[in-house]
């Protein structure tokens, strides 16, 4: 593949490192099998903590073929934290909703959650080759931390008590390299997973789809369009998505008993594309087929994402049906969840229990994702007579019943919380805002340069979001029995005060001391009327109309402790330092006794 539209495929030189008797003399903290989006995101996440990694990628360019195209808001938030957002925004196509048709009649217009508080679109279309391109560029900006080895295969490995011994091969040269940890980001056919004899468990589906990418200079907008029982594919289902580079993705269902090889023949695919373009009034446009592939739905996972010193992420750990675009997005979330935890273990700040929380959180997220994706699949390609009967009835009635039409809403992926995480600290009930394990909702703020939203307050490490009534220093005053909101006194809801609400409340001086402790931690102070500032310990931002405080159910002194991956570890009305230390100790027990 030389080029698609304006995109030229780069070629990266295979490189064998300087060897010492057939062995890479450098010991690597982390070896990553697979340089796709998940492996690259993990390398970037580790680099944020100053942890070196080596990425072994068999290919010498970014991926080809019909792969992921939809990047979720949560993935974009992660990509921003990984330092690669600009290229995504510059090249991607944002979108907020779509249309569903029964035959050619529109039965549903759906919108994904989006409002003026958000910084990023709910979804951005960017083909996987460009996703990888942007992540590679970000990784190449960090040559001291990320060692990208193109054209290099992982041949064999041996997991021992002190590390993983890997045999790699590049350009006919076999060599050994040693790593503390090996992370399998090598996709659905994972070599690492197979070598260890692990199998994905779960449900496969009968529904078969052909996926074709075509170049087509269509002016149609960026949105998701789905047709049930269209004239171009009677009785079956077709989807269409716009991508950059004048590339269009068409997924169409073929009968369960169809011969796949026959269906994938170019002349048969071309005939379907012609019928589809005629149906949507674009038969007059020039087009060509770029890629053709097949897809069969399944929702399967490993029961655990760690085996000794080997970890699994992305499709190596789980596969999800494509409907709802949870494949790449859940893989990126895996990488971001794992990055800081692996870094903390390597730094000696945590034991392997923290890595096990990666597995438990992400297996749980898989089940949430699978439930939504399976629901979509059951509607897109009914697996049984009962589902078919219900689906066809729903489509017929959806013309006049918006409620029934909602059954066709694809419920695209959204950020998933970890309500049962072992890292969630006992917290206070607050009238609004994310609970322990949840990702942070976005909110505009007025901060110093570069800070216009709440998410801009976060960096690679832990963050204490400290809500104050104004920017005057808040004395540890022993409390007067009231919580102040907007300057008015309101009775304190003592019955809802949880384990964290110590009588002393949050002393800013103590928070500063916490920030100067061994664990990288930033204090972000949010107050209505606060003067935006950056200090050695953190950032202060103005919440001009109190929106952030309202969205977070926060009164003066409230604290959200935010994990490095942006999930809430705990939240309290007025915690004292001991409460925060105890919450941090859930992730970093070896630092629990440390006093700044």
């Amino acid at each position: 593949m030389a080029a698609i539209g304006a995109y030229d495929f780069p070629r990266f030189e295979p490189r064998v490192p300087s060897l010492d008797a057939g062995r890479d003399p450098v010991r690597h903290p982390v070896a990553i099998a697979g340089g796709g989006p998940v492996g690259l995101a993990l390398a970037l996440a580790l680099a944020q903590w100053g942890v070196r990694s080596v990425v072994l990628e068999a290919d010498t360019t970014v991926c080809e073929g019909s792969r992921a195209i939809c990047v979720s808001r949560r993935s974009l938030e992660i990509v921003e934290r990984l330092g690669a957002l600009d290229g995504f925004i510059a090249n991607g196509l944002p979108w907020t909703g779509g249309r569903t048709y029964h035959g050619t009649r529109e039965i549903l217009r759906f919108s994904m959650p989006h409002d003026a508080h958000e910084k990023l679109p709910p979804m951005l279309n960017l083909p996987q080759y460009r996703i990888e391109h942007e992540l590679v560029e970000a990784a190449r900006r960090l040559p001291a931390l990320i060692d990208l080895r193109w054209g290099t295969t992982l041949e064999r490995f041996e997991d021992g008590p002190d590390g993983v011994r890997i045999e790699a091969a590049c350009d006919g040269t076999a060599y050994r390299l040693d790593a503390d940890w090996l992370v399998a980001c090598d996709g659905g056919q994972s070599t690492v997973r197979r070598a260890l004899g692990h199998r994905l468990e779960g449900t496969g589906f009968e529904g078969k789809f052909v996926i074709v990418d075509i170049e087509l200079p269509s002016p149609a907008p960026t949105e998701r369009r789905a047709w049930f029982d269209p004239p171009s594919n009677p009785g079956l289902t077709t989807l269409m998505h716009r991508q950059p580079d004048d590339l269009w993705r068409i997924d169409y269902q073929i009968p369960d008993d169809a011969d796949l090889d026959c269906a994938l023949r170019e002349e048969n695919v071309a005939a379907m594309v012609r019928r589809h373009l005629a149906m949507i009034g674009e038969a007059h446009l020039p087009w060509r087929i770029v890629w053709i592939s097949a897809y069969r739905a399944g929702a399967m996972t490993l029961p655990d994402y760690r085996d000794g010193r080997v970890l699994f992420a992305g499709n190596a750990a789980h596969v999800l049906p494509i409907f709802g675009v949870r494949g790449l997005n859940s893989g990126v979330e895996d990488a971001f969840n794992l990055g800081w935890k692996l870094a903390a273990v390597l730094r000696g700040w945590s034991g392997t229990a923290l890595l096990d929380s990666y597995g438990s959180e992400r297996v749980q997220a898989f089940h949430v994702n699978a439930d939504s994706a399976v629901r979509s699949t059951e509607f897109m390609a009914p697996p049984t007579r009962g589902f078919r009967l219900m689906r066809d009835a729903a489509l017929v009635l959806s013309h006049r019943h918006p409620g029934i039409a909602e059954l066709a809403n694809p419920r695209q992926t959204s950020a998933i919380g970890h309500p049962d995480s072992p890292l969630n600290a006992p917290s206070d009930a607050l009238p609004a805002g994310p609970g322990p394990g949840d990702p942070l909702p976005e909110c505009p703020l007025r901060g110093p340069a570069g800070v216009r939203h709440l998410s801009d307050l976060l960096d690679a490490h832990w963050t204490v979001l400290h809500f104050v009534a104004d920017d005057r220093p808040h004395a540890a005053d022993g409390t007067d029995g009231t919580d102040r909101t907007d300057g008015t006194d309101a009775p304190r809801d003592a019955g809802r005060a949880g384990p964290g609400s110590g009588p002393g409340g949050t002393d800013p001086a103590a928070l500063r001391a916490l920030a100067r402790g061994p664990l990288p931690l930033r204090i972000a102070t949010i107050g209505r009327g606060s003067t935006p500032a950056r200090t050695a310990d953190g950032i202060t931002a103005d919440d001009p109309d109190g929106t952030a405080a309202a969205r977070y159910g926060a009164t003066d002194g409230a604290v959200y402790l935010v994990r490095p991956d942006g999930h809430v570890a705990g939240r309290w009305r007025r915690p004292d330092l001991g409460v925060l230390r105890a919450a941090l100790a859930l992730a970093h027990p070896t630092l629990a006794g440390a006093r700044p």
Partner: protein, 64 residues
Amino acid sequence: VSGLTATERDALYRDCARAIDAAGEDGDRALLARLVLLLMEALGDADRCRRALAEAVRGGDDPV
């Protein structure tokens, strides 16, 4: 106006599909007839039942 949330509707839809599968081709019509009778009693509104029946007979399209 439906009082169902999207999550509730999804779950009921799935339960119905599974019940039809479990009843099999020999039993699914009887199952659906029983379900109709029970929902009529639960609704307790003859006019709405008649309108729903008429629409189901038409197959959902607009009245001609």
